[in-house]
């Protein structure tokens, strides 16, 4: 089989709002029904409760925005502004914060394996699956009132349309026009709530093509790689801003992840 790596385009899971006749609707429904994604939620639960780092502490007191250790609906309310850190954070950024504060781990150690592989998924991937699973059914409602949240949204929106890099791409180059495909993968217009909702409501997700669980920070990282840009810093303000723009555009969607994708 030709070496076909993942690409910028991600397909939505449930046959909601298919732009054109989605010929993969059956395939997506059946793979989602028979998906091993719950195994990653199990792995995440283990890590959430596992004492680690110099302080030998677990993450069970991590405040994801709804109070220390509160998981229910927490993912659906991210990204948001966190007073204790003085900045807007998405899930992975906040998890990293808890690893460094609660567990006393250095940023360098906690981020040494950010993106895993089929044999060794990363902590962030396991934890993202576990935390996201607790928002199933919740309406997506990222932070929108705090000035820093507005600023993050504006930066994310500007980044989405910003053309740069050797191939002059912006996110909108691929995710800007309706009913378009890269190869066989549909390209949802992510700046349009109608198309953003079904997609953003199913990330992070298990990818059947390589048996890996993928997070949003990975998704943005891999997009910029294919945009022929230099590499984004993990959990930087720009990546959080893009996640804020996408989550805000998808505001109101019922979260159905962690999802299963091609």
């Amino acid at each position: 089989m030709r070496r076909a790596l993942a690409c910028a385009a991600v397909l939505m899971v449930a046959p909601a709002l298919a732009q054109q006749k989605n010929q993969f609707a059956d395939y997506q429904r059946m793979t989602a029904e028979g998906s091993p994604v719950e195994l990653f939620e199990l792995g995440g639960e283990e890590l959430w409760k596992k004492p680690q780092g110099p302080k030998n502490a677990s993450l069970e007191k991590c405040d994801l925005g709804k109070g220390p250790g509160i998981l229910k609906g927490a993912y659906a309310a991210l990204p948001r502004y966190f007073k204790d850190a003085g900045r807007v954070m998405d899930l992975e950024t906040r998890l990293l914060h808890c690893m460094m504060t609660l567990q006393g781990r250095s940023r360098e150690e906690a981020t040494k394996q950010l993106f895993g592989n089929a044999d060794r998924p990363s902590e962030m991937e396991y934890l993202s699956a576990y935390v996201a699973g607790h928002s199933r059914g919740a309406k997506m409602a990222p932070g929108a009132s705090h000035p820093k949240e507005k600023e993050s949204y504006q930066l994310g929106k500007a980044l989405f349309f910003h053309r740069a890099g050797s191939w002059d791409f912006s996110c909108a180059s691929c995710h800007g026009e309706q009913d378009k495909r890269i190869r066989m993968s549909d390209l949802p217009v992510l700046s349009d709530p109608k198309f953003a909702r079904p997609l953003i409501a199913t990330w992070p997700a298990y990818r059947v093509s390589n048996s890996q669980f993928k997070t949003m920070q990975w998704r943005l990282n891999d997009c910029y790689r294919q945009m022929r840009m230099p590499e984004p810093n993990f959990a930087s303000d720009s990546m959080v801003a893009l996640n804020m723009f996408l989550a805000t555009t998808a505001k109101g969607a019922e979260y159905r992840g962690p999802g299963t994708k091609r």
Binding site: A164, W167, R183, S238
Partner: protein, 195 residues
């Protein structure tokens, strides 16, 4: 970001949208070089700046000027511009080239099938760009058409200022020979595209 903060302080109104310059500052702060993808790729050139600011719809006069500027970047080889269409299929299929994950100097591809239908036997093709099936048969393959196709692949923006098609020659992704092979893939009567 300084400007945005100042604005926020004074205006107290809803946030002014960050300008392309503000975004470039954010990219410089939040990205790092990796492999062949260095930070010199971050600052926008004039074309990228104008297309970003006008959401790819620059005023006609400005578009014409951009296209003229871009046309001057194209280096047309002398003689026939038709290479070997057999070699071109692989270039059209190959999605690598100019990424941090690609070894510098390793042969690059054009990712053409990501956006175009080209040879009839490949069913996994994209639709961001028009179908190129039967291109040579429909449009002929004289020197003028060869020049147009070569130029379009080398620098698509010379013909359409804010096109989404990458400037594959100008960006250094494809070699002269690879572009001539792609010209043959589209124009050579023997190519599956024209059968």
């Amino acid at each position: 970001m300084k400007r945005a903060i100042l604005l926020m302080f004074f205006s107290g109104l809803a946030f002014a949208e960050p300008t392309a310059r503000d975004v470039t500052e954010a990219l410089k702060r939040d990205f790092h070089p990796r492999g062949q993808a260095k930070m010199d790729r971050v600052p926008q050139d004039g074309l990228q700046r104008i297309c970003t600011d006008t959401r790819d719809k620059p005023p006609a006069a400005l578009a014409k000027q951009i296209e003229a500027d871009q046309m001057r970047t194209i280096v047309f080889p002398t003689g026939s511009l038709m290479g070997d269409w057999k070699r071109a299929e692989k270039v059209a299929q190959d999605g690598r080239g100019s990424m941090w994950s690609d070894k510098p100097g390793a042969p690059a591809g054009g990712s053409c099938y990501n956006c175009h239908q080209i040879s009839p036997q490949e069913t996994s093709y994209g639709t961001l760009g028009p179908s190129l099936l039967g291109f040579g048969k429909k449009r002929g393959n004289g020197p003028e058409m060869q020049k147009y196709v070569y130029g379009k692949i080398y620098n698509a923006k010379a013909y359409n200022a804010c096109s989404q098609m990458p400037r594959l020659g100008y960006a250094g992704t494809l070699t002269e020979e690879q572009i001539k092979d792609l010209v043959a893939l589209l124009l050579d009567p023997a190519s599956p595209v024209n059968r």
